[in-house]
């Protein structure tokens, strides 16, 4: 039996797709979600087993398609269906090897973030941080003469932020969040109270009590998070598994599978997994009439079917690399040689991340890391200010997981003191210990470890872009090619971040252990600071944005503020790819707010009852 014409076809079962699907379904609309990856599982046994038994616990590890073959070698993405990038291909030896790196990285610098292609999307491995952007984030061009303005302001998005906070279940304290002009209606309370701060947070707060940077006093603020501080949505309160990335074993951290299942519960949503959309089809009148998709059964197996579905409305929600790539490869037999929805030429351009500066140290006193959520607080004072005329703003995330992120601890330190090595830099004498001496060494070092991660605002630049590579995946679909670099504005922000971190450590009496990257690290840049040549390494934050930016002018943007394509009235291109700038807040809450606003637009206009 052939498919009906759906009210809406949504490409991607991640945050954006799930949110829009649910809202449309609640309004009685008939929705089909096409998801490239595999089903949301019945339980997390398999995810957790994969996580526990992996010796490299990066964010992608619990999920599929598999990264490694039986011999522990990275699988060639050419052989995989719906392959995804991994942070394991950011080494000098493999970042430009298409047999290892799914993304075809053309440089000059490495794009350092990854994403998932699976039911629930990248949201399966997110940290949970649910910050709102600050009012000036939406108008940096007007206020600071830098970056770009958004086609809407904080006030426009504020009610949608509240809706997003309810959908996700955000725990935070309104009074503490009212900084940099963030405001709330009188009487508003977040769905749940703030997650209690950690001992690491307390140590940082005590240490920076007298510290000012660029004339700004620094304070520690609890982070709003999609993490339960009490039972919510029939999910448990957080038990501090210290594993938010890559997976919360008890689902105290929200992930989009919750909303997908809500959407399915209405009876109005169908979801087809292992279904990779290969082209968006445009009619002569400019309306999108259908999407084509390919299906597979096994990750390494052949294509098993092909299909096409029609709908009144189409929503692309495949995250900010796959969505623009899909638009660009949709050439409609030559009728849309520049791709669909791309009259502006901006599709794929203005690729942004939050380059993350990581500093780590031993606190003067024990702070007992490896306890609690991965992060409970941050330093938000430098997210906005006049300095944005000169250099990128940033926020500082305080980590509760010791030196796990910087050096893979406790494994590294454990090996060092048993085998007389010094990868951790904590064992300069290369002592090989045992018994009580070993216990003392471990406890005294591990209990003092902490790290700070700084999310720096990257400039939108057209030279940073996603294009279509000639390399393909196992379904014959082109892979994304990436060009990526950091502007001086952003680099200056990273330098300021580095200095801020060192000052914080010094103010705390902590001993800094941050190291310089190697000169062949693809994710670093050389810089001279106070006359001294050095190198700064950046990590990816997993925050991908900008590649189908929204705007007021159809020549300068891909979508309007409702994420509606300028070129095709029934096409919505959604997600953090719509961000004109990436600001300094983690993108999820903002992209969810935009998604809910988009769903509302669709229901008011395109699918009005």
């Amino acid at each position: 039996m052939s498919d009906p014409i759906f009210d809406a076809v949504i490409v991607g079962a991640g945050f954006s797709g799930a949110m829009i699907a649910k809202q449309l379904a609640l309004a009685g609309k008939h929705v089909l979600i096409l998801e490239a990856g595999v089903e949301i599982p019945v339980n997390v046994n398999e995810f957790m087993e994969r996580f526990y038994t992996s010796n490299t616990k990066v964010e992608e590890i619990p999920y599929t398609p598999p990264l490694f073959d039986a011999n522990g070698k990275l699988i060639d993405p050419t052989k995989l269906n719906a392959p995804r990038p991994t942070v394991l291909t950011l080494d000098p030896t493999n970042w430009k090897d298409p047999k290892q790196s799914y993304l075809i990285q053309n440089g000059p610098l490495a794009f350092a973030s990854s994403y998932e292609r699976i039911g629930g999307g990248t949201g399966r491995h997110w940290l949970g941080t649910s910050l709102r952007f600050v009012p000036n984030d939406f108008k940096t061009k007007t206020v600071y003469g830098q970056l770009a303005d958004w086609p809407l302001g904080y006030e426009d998005l504020e009610p949608w932020y509240r809706a997003a906070e309810a959908e996700i279940g955000v725990s935070a304290d309104v009074a503490a969040q009212a900084y940099h002009g963030i405001s709330f209606p009188v009487g508003y309370a977040y769905p749940m109270p703030l997650i209690p701060p950690s001992l690491v947070d307390a140590a940082v707060a005590a240490g920076i009590a007298e510290l000012g940077i660029d004339g700004v006093r620094l304070t520690v603020t609890g982070s709003p998070a999609g993490r339960n501080s009490q039972p919510y949505q029939n999910r448990k309160a957080c038990a501090g598994n210290t594993n938010c990335i890559p997976i919360c074993p008890i689902q105290a951290k929200y992930d989009p599978s919750v909303t997908i299942n809500d959407a399915l519960a209405t009876g109005n949503v169908e979801i087809r997994y292992r279904s990779v959309v290969s082209e968006v089809i445009v009619a002569a009148n400019g309306r999108i009439t259908s999407v084509n998709y390919l299906q597979y059964q096994d990750a390494l197996g052949p294509k098993t079917a092909a299909g096409s579905v029609q709908a009144t409305v189409f929503v692309l929600a495949a995250h900010a690399v796959e969505t623009p790539k899909l638009l660009l490869i949709s050439t409609n037999g030559g009728r849309t040689p520049n791709g669909v929805g791309n009259s502006s030429g901006k599709v794929g351009k203005n690729l942004m991340d939050h380059p993350l500066y990581l500093g780590w140290a031993l606190a003067a006193d024990p702070v007992f890391p490896y306890r609690g959520p991965l992060s409970t607080s941050g330093i938000e004072n430098l997210r906005d200010g006049d300095f944005r005329r000169q250099r990128a703003a940033f926020r500082i995330e305080i980590g509760n997981e010791g030196w796990n992120f910087p050096i893979g601890d406790p494994d590294t330190t454990t090996l060092d003191f048993i085998n007389g090595m010094n990868d951790s830099h904590l064992n300069p004498n290369r002592s090989a210990l045992f018994g009580t001496a070993l216990i003392d060494a471990y406890n005294s070092k591990l209990s003092h470890q902490f790290r700070l991660g700084v999310l720096v605002e990257q400039t939108p630049e057209e030279r940073n872009c996603v294009t279509v590579a000639k390399q393909v995946d196992n379904l014959g679909l082109p892979r994304p090619a990436i060009q990526y670099d950091l502007s001086q504005y952003t680099k200056d922000g990273l330098v300021a971040a580095k200095n801020a971190v060192s000052q914080i450590f010094a103010s705390m009496g902590a001993a800094e252990f941050t190291r310089e990257p190697d000169d062949n690290d693809p994710a670093m840049f050389p810089v001279t600071i106070d006359g001294k040549d050095t190198r700064i390494k950046y990590f990816g934050s997993g925050h991908i944005a900008g590649t189908h930016r929204m705007g007021t002018d159809k020549h300068q943007s891909v979508v309007d503020s409702a994420q509606r394509s300028w070129d095709h009235p029934n096409l919505f291109v959604t997600g953090s790819g719509s961000f004109p700038t990436i600001a300094t807040g983690n993108p999820t809450l903002t992209l969810v707010a935009l998604a809910l606003r988009t769903a509302d637009a669709i229901l008011r206009r395109d699918l009005r009852a």
Binding site: Y52, N55, S198, A239, N241, P410, T414, L415, I439, Y442
Partner: protein, 156 residues
């Protein structure tokens, strides 16, 4: 004393963790068996030798005797055993030897998590007064206060 008794004895001497913690008398998890079996499978003859030394040496000198007075084979096997207990990972004695040099290879040392049970029973987390990442039995809000003492975790 049985082979297992000697294995527990040498494990306690090497790791510094009390033997009643490594091998409780009522033990539904019995991780010691998994580590014993792994070491025996990977390094049979050297492992037997280690057990013999353990049987013949007082506990308070056993660590030093095994690691510093019994030759390289025993030294590196014992280090592998220690890593089983602390991390639930098997790193071969041969690889440990290759990396125990002033200028070790740049690539990470090969390692294998032997099971999800072994990872979650790893002792390094308890020595840090914490818990394995991804496996917490603590209650909401616990991170706001201090952990139990080190001795609570590893002592008699």
């Amino acid at each position: 004393m049985s082979d297992m008794d000697n294995f527990v004895k040498l494990s306690a001497a090497l790791t510094g963790i009390d033997p009643t913690k490594l091998a409780p008398s009522v033990d539904p998890i019995n991780i010691k068996q998994e580590f014993f079996d792994k070491a025996r499978t990977e390094a049979g003859p050297t492992f037997s030798e280690a057990l013999t030394v353990a049987g013949n040496t007082p506990a308070n000198t056993l660590g030093d005797v095994l690691l510093n007075q019994s030759g390289e084979d025993l030294r590196f096997l014992c280090r592998s055993i220690m890593l089983l207990w602390f991390l639930g990972q098997w790193i071969t004695p041969g690889d440990l030897k290759r990396y125990a040099v002033p200028d070790p290879p740049a690539s990470p040392i090969p390692s294998l998590v032997i099971s999800s049970k072994a990872y979650t029973q790893g002792w390094i987390w308890k020595v840090a007064q914490a818990h394995p990442m991804g496996d917490s039995n603590w209650h909401f809000g616990y991170w706001n206060g201090p952990p139990p003492s080190l001795n609570d975790f590893i002592g008699a």
